[in-house]
């Protein structure tokens, strides 16, 4: 198994608040890794370090390295836009652009110069919507606004938008927390399909979701990585008492 992303001594401060402490983690290629832990434990902060989203927070200070395919994404010569192109992100709330379904998917590939308008773009839109498992539902209304879709469909449209720029890694920050159980199952099934092509890292408060879909699980507590192992080990035989206490609901 290849390590796709490796963080070494990763620390993050929001002004005086030390939010991440020496995180050393190797995230495997074509696997789903779930980041779990109570609110404020640093899992979303860690996730946002992986595509330099924390650069947008003025008080954030980051030390350590995040190496993706042998290159530290925090090196000075790194183009942040290209990092975010390679590392797509899906957020908690579906956030389609106020544009048509077609434009939601085609916008970024055209901007990045991956395709030009026309047949190639049409094909990429179709391929991305198929990849996100929503093509059959929207193929006859591609010009309808993305915002006209249901919550679950909007989230899959956002996933289509993410994969349209052909990333290597997809980060998901609680991608189903705003969705009903049926839509959640569709997203989970989609994640299992997507991992064949992409490396997926997901933050979730739903431990059963981590258990169901993740190959690996990392448990964070108060900004520290407490335990990281195969999901089955974490949920059946965790090594750390804190992990066991969290999983069994003894503390939140």
């Amino acid at each position: 198994m290849n390590v796709k992303i490796k963080t070494t001594n990763l620390n993050l401060w929001y002004a005086q608040n030390h939010a991440l402490h020496d995180i050393n983690l190797g995230l495997y290629e074509n696997k789903i890794t779930a980041l779990i832990g109570a609110s404020g434990c640093g899992k979303s902060t860690f996730l946002r370090c992986l595509n330099r989203m924390n650069d947008l927070v003025s008080s954030a200070i980051i030390k350590g390295t995040v190496v993706i395919d042998d290159k530290n994404i925090y090196d000075k010569d790194i183009d942040v836009v290209s990092v975010r192109k390679r590392i797509g992100m899906v957020f908690q709330q579906p956030n389609p652009f106020p544009k048509s379904i077609y434009e939601n998917v085609s916008y970024a590939p055209i901007k990045h110069g991956i395709v030009k308008k026309g047949k190639a773009c049409d094909e990429l839109v179709e391929k991305s919507l198929i990849g996100a498992g929503i093509w059959e539902e929207v193929k006859d209304k591609l010009q309808a606004p993305g915002t006209s879709l249901s919550g679950g469909q909007q989230q899959r449209l956002c996933i289509a938008r993410t994969i349209a720029v052909q990333p290597d890694v997809i980060l998901m920050d609680e991608p189903t927390s705003a969705l009903d159980p049926i839509s959640t199952e569709k997203i989970e099934a989609l994640m299992l399909e997507l991992k064949k092509k992409y490396t997926i890292i997901t933050v979730t408060h739903n431990m059963q979701q981590a258990a169901r879909v993740a190959d690996y699980t990392a448990f964070f507590h108060l900004g520290k990585l407490i335990e990281y192992d195969e999901t089955e080990t974490i949920f059946v035989n965790p090594k750390e008492k804190k992990t066991e206490d969290y999983i069994t609901g003894r503390f939140g």
Partner: protein, 222 residues
């Protein structure tokens, strides 16, 4: 249902069926050894049960992991809990079978009247095999009515083994009174045939657990 979960359930079901069938096959080979007097087949029967406990442990661990990772509910939960108990029943049936083979393969060289014993011993063995095979068939069944039909068939076979064993017991006691110097051998026969009756008991227990898995209600030890 996520495909990965569906695959795990299917895999557990198939593995349980496989180890159950190993017990049935071992008994069929042992029966063939007795019927044809080709006692070398006892070794084949014993070999059929090699690794059964190891495979049972593997299934149990798969079930524990599936319970932990997928938190099944309703029928899925009943099925997995039942399978966890069924593997135990299958291991016990396997132990009974091994014990039968071990003892019976020794007494075939004694001076006891095997033909007289086999008069009821073979039907007893056939009923035990039919009970276990019928119980295992329930694993593959989805239809509720069919589940109940098969369950009743298992109970009938299990009841037959009880009756046949009682008849054998009476006959053997008579034989012992006529030939006291062979009493140890006859008691060994009785003990070994008791193992077959136990195999049928385990089959009834498996059927009972599968009935709970398919139809619900309350789990209880048979």
């Amino acid at each position: 249902m996520l495909p990965v979960y569906k695959e795990k359930l299917e895999s557990i079901k198939n593995e349980v069926y496989t180890i159950g069938f190993q017990v049935a096959t071992a008994n069929e080979l042992a029966l063939q050894a007795i019927e044809t007097k080709n006692y070398k087949l006892f070794n084949d029967a014993k070999n059929e049960l090699i690794n059964l406990e190891k495979n049972s442990n593997k299934i149990d661990n798969m079930i524990v992991a599936t319970l932990a990772l997928h938190a099944p509910e309703a029928k899925d939960l009943r099925v997995l809990v039942s399978y966890l108990k069924i593997t135990n029943e299958i291991v016990r049936a396997s132990t009974n079978t091994k014990s039968f083979i071990k003892t019976f393969s020794k007494i075939v060289s004694c001076d006891i009247d095997l033909d007289k014993i086999n008069e009821y011993g073979i039907p007893l063995h056939k009923s035990a095999i039919l009970a276990i095979k019928t119980a295992l068939k329930i694993i593959q069944i989805e239809n509720e009515n069919e589940t109940e039909d098969y369950f009743h068939k298992v109970i009938v076979e299990e009841s037959k083994t009880d009756d046949l064993y009682s008849m054998i017991e009476k006959n053997i006691l008579k034989m012992i009174t006529k030939n006291k110097e062979l009493s140890k051998d006859y008691f060994d026969v009785l003990s070994s045939l008791r193992r077959l009756e136990k195999v049928a008991d385990r089959a009834a227990s498996i059927a009972n657990l599968l009935l709970f898995a398919h139809l619900g209600g309350e789990i209880h030890q048979a």
